[in-house]
């Protein structure tokens, strides 16, 4: 029962525009991930949703209600902080109960003894203690309700922070990189717990992260931002298969998509000395578009091949082994890559192969391209090239 609508939301700090004209709409019970590199404005956007930042222009709607002028506590949203932001001077139980105490707060609760008794009375009332007890049980916190946050491990603190959010039974859960202070292993298991939580407690989730793996696995919708501007909005699958521009293409997927300069020549694609026949859906894109393109190829669409037609020559630059997979960096002899964000580029492409590759640096190899999932971008604007309107789109555009 809580759809979220952002309508041309902008936030400026002095002369800097942190969030620039972002509009999006998600229905109830979605898991929206705001994704992007450091400083892209994703946290600012979340804080505007929460009411911790004011909106410079634009509107925020929760269901039919406009909320951007309301104080944080009136928006019926809970917020989970990256730093957890537990109250260090309160027990776990009091931390979780705190939002419920604040609902019935009177000014005289600040008085030393009387106030303490009143708060304890709320804490021990059947409704409240039931709800808190159930929440604690879901999060496996029952054993540590009387401890203080400083005595807890990172994962336990994280769960207390989740408990404090859940106990309010809000319409919307806002989470600002809640897993980034945990170690790699714990992060994975907490990821699963948050997904479970979303399924079980309901509500709309908005989750900020810089980690595309988290975004891909947790989100039902992803909004990818860069320098305050939304680059693409869609399901994880849409974003992975149909990146709107080279930034999205490179940001999503590990290792990132390779971008190689190519030339469209009468139904075929020329990369360096290699010429590749285009499958129909790519031919439709090629038709009527310019000759020079950037060819986006996922690392798993490239394979190390024997000598043969339709392959590119190169030298192995680096082999990384990640468990079941090997990532092979190959420096191409004649083709030019366009990975601008990482310095010189050096014409390297990344190839994933399953198993333990025995290749070594400086081995001479040939690279085969599987054109099925290849996408084309404009070398000038970086935008995805799409088929002319009359052509059929093999994948629905996002």
């Amino acid at each position: 029962m809580a759809s979220i609508k952002l309508d041309r939301v902008t936030r400026t700090f002095g002369t800097k525009t942190a969030v620039n004209n972002v509009s999006l709409e998600v229905p109830d019970r979605e898991f929206l991930v705001l994704l992007g590199p450091s400083g892209c404005g994703k946290s600012t956007l979340l804080r505007m949703l929460a009411g911790l930042e004011s909106v410079s222009s634009g509107e925020i709607h929760l269901d039919q209600r406009r909320v951007d002028q309301l104080p944080p506590s009136a928006r019926d949203m809970a917020f989970v902080f990256q730093s957890y932001a537990l109250y260090p001077h309160m027990t776990v139980r009091r931390n979780i109960t705190f939002p419920l105490i604040m609902r019935e707060f009177k000014w005289w609760f600040h008085l030393p003894i009387v106030g303490g008794m009143a708060k304890r009375k709320i804490e021990e009332s059947p409704n409240v203690s039931d709800l808190v007890g159930r929440t604690a049980k879901i999060l496996a916190l029952t054993e540590m309700m009387d401890r203080f946050p400083r005595t807890l491990s990172g994962g336990q603190r994280q769960r207390v922070a989740l408990g404090r959010a859940m106990v309010r039974q809000p319409q919307v859960f806002l989470m600002d990189e809640p897993l980034s202070n945990l170690d790699a292993k714990l992060r994975m298991s907490m990821r699963a717990e948050i997904i479970k939580l979303h399924r079980e407690v309901g509500g709309t989730f908005v989750y900020v992260t810089h980690d595309q793996v988290e975004a891909m696995t947790m989100g039902t919708k992803i909004a990818l931002l860069r320098d305050g501007v939304m680059q693409q909005f869609g399901t994880p699958r849409e974003i992975y298969l149909n990146p709107a521009n080279t930034f999205v293409a490179r940001f999503i997927g590990t290792p990132p998509m390779n971008l190689i300069e190519g030339r469209l020549e009468e139904g075929a694609l020329r990369i360096g000395e290699g010429v590749f026949a285009l499958p129909p859906h790519l031919a439709a894109v090629a038709h009527g578009n310019q000759a020079h393109v950037l060819v986006g190829i996922r690392p798993n669409s490239l394979t190390i091949a024997a000598e043969g037609e339709g392959t590119l020559a190169g030298k192995v630059a680096l082999v990384e082994h990640v468990g079941a997979e090997s990532v092979i960096d190959v420096r191409l002899d004649h083709a030019t890559t366009a990975h601008r964000e990482e310095g010189e580029g050096r014409n390297e492409v990344m190839i994933t192969e399953s198993g333990y590759s025995d290749l070594r640096a400086n081995d001479t190899v040939r690279v085969r391209i599987d054109l099925t999932d290849v996408v084309f971008f404009s070398p000038d604007s970086g935008l995805r090239l799409r088929p002319e309107p009359r052509g059929a789109t093999p994948h629905p555009a996002s």
């Binding site: 911790l52 944080p72 506590s73 949203m77 917020f79 730093s83 932001a85 537990l86 604040m102 603190r157």
Partner: protein, 277 residues
């Protein structure tokens, strides 16, 4: 905490000894002097060991003076100054820590200005104002005057402590439904408790020891504070030095007791450093 090798260790021992010496010596000196007969006091080689036979000086000191009334008045003034100046300092300290605004420099100047002005300078105008407001010869007037001097210092100290409270915790409280006042009283204050204790000690001691205002603004004998009473003794040439020291030690005792009362918090602050969630 640095766990270090030999160099660090000797450094540490020297530092501790220096501090302990500085801490204990004055009290010890007072005690020794109080048990030293006047005849020996200005002897070439100063006495360093107390003389138990002279302990009777304390009975003597209690007998002849209205020490209890003085101490009671001083206690009222000191506690009043503590409560009032902390109450007045909390909000400016919070504002200085959390808000950025044009003119912060001017406010910072203001925090020091009462320290620039000698108390002697303010006695005349204060006397005039207090006369108008019927605050002359009242302990509450004295509390007010003292607080004017402690508030800036305490504001400054609390501001530093509030700087250390993570802003996230305040934002969490806003989300949970706290007003700004609720945040200051319910979240920020408990987290700066150790510094609050240190500030209380400073205010208490200022109120306890203040002399010029207590001398000028109070003329009623029954409202005289211990600092003024004591000075009266010191001024009289007939009072032997060891009696002065005995009374002085008794005068110091309540302040020490107050300190021991809050020291748990102060020391907690010393060992804990900044607040972490």
């Amino acid at each position: 905490m640095i766990r270090s090798g030999r160099g660090g260790k000797s450094f540490r021992v020297v530092a501790i000894l220096a501090l302990l010496g500085a801490a204990a010596f004055p009290l010890y000196w007072m005690f020794v002097t109080s048990t030293t007969p006047s005849s020996e006091l200005f002897a070439a080689d100063a006495r360093l060991i107390p003389k138990p036979s002279e302990i009777g000086v304390y009975r003597e000191a209690f007998g002849g003076t209205s020490v209890t009334t003085w101490v009671r008045n001083s206690a009222i003034v000191a506690v009043g100054t503590t409560v009032l100046s902390i109450a007045l300092a909390i909000f400016p300290a919070y504002a200085l820590s959390r808000f950025r605004f044009r003119g912060m420099g001017v406010v910072g100047f203001g925090l020091f200005i009462t320290q620039m002005l000698p108390e002697a300078m303010l006695v005349v105008p204060l006397y005039a104002i207090f006369g108008d407001l019927a605050l002359l010869n009242t302990l509450s007037g004295l509390i007010l005057a003292n607080s004017a001097f402690t508030v800036p210092v305490i504001t400054w100290i609390l501001k530093g402590a509030i700087d250390g409270v993570p802003i996230d915790i305040e934002e969490a409280a806003r989300i949970d439904g706290c007003s700004r006042l609720d945040i200051v009283l319910g979240v920020v204050l408990p987290l700066v408790a150790p510094t609050l204790a240190a500030a209380a000690v400073i205010a208490f001691f200022h109120g306890w020891n203040e002399y010029i205002f207590a001398q000028t603004l109070i003329s009623d004998q029954d409202l005289r504070t211990a600092s003024v009473g004591l000075a009266g003794f010191v001024g009289e040439l007939s009072t032997p030095v060891h009696t002065v020291m005995a009374i002085g030690l008794m005068y110091t005792l309540p302040a020490v007791i107050f300190y021991l009362f809050v020291q748990r918090y102060v020391v907690a602050g010393m060992t804990a450093g900044s607040v972490k969630g």
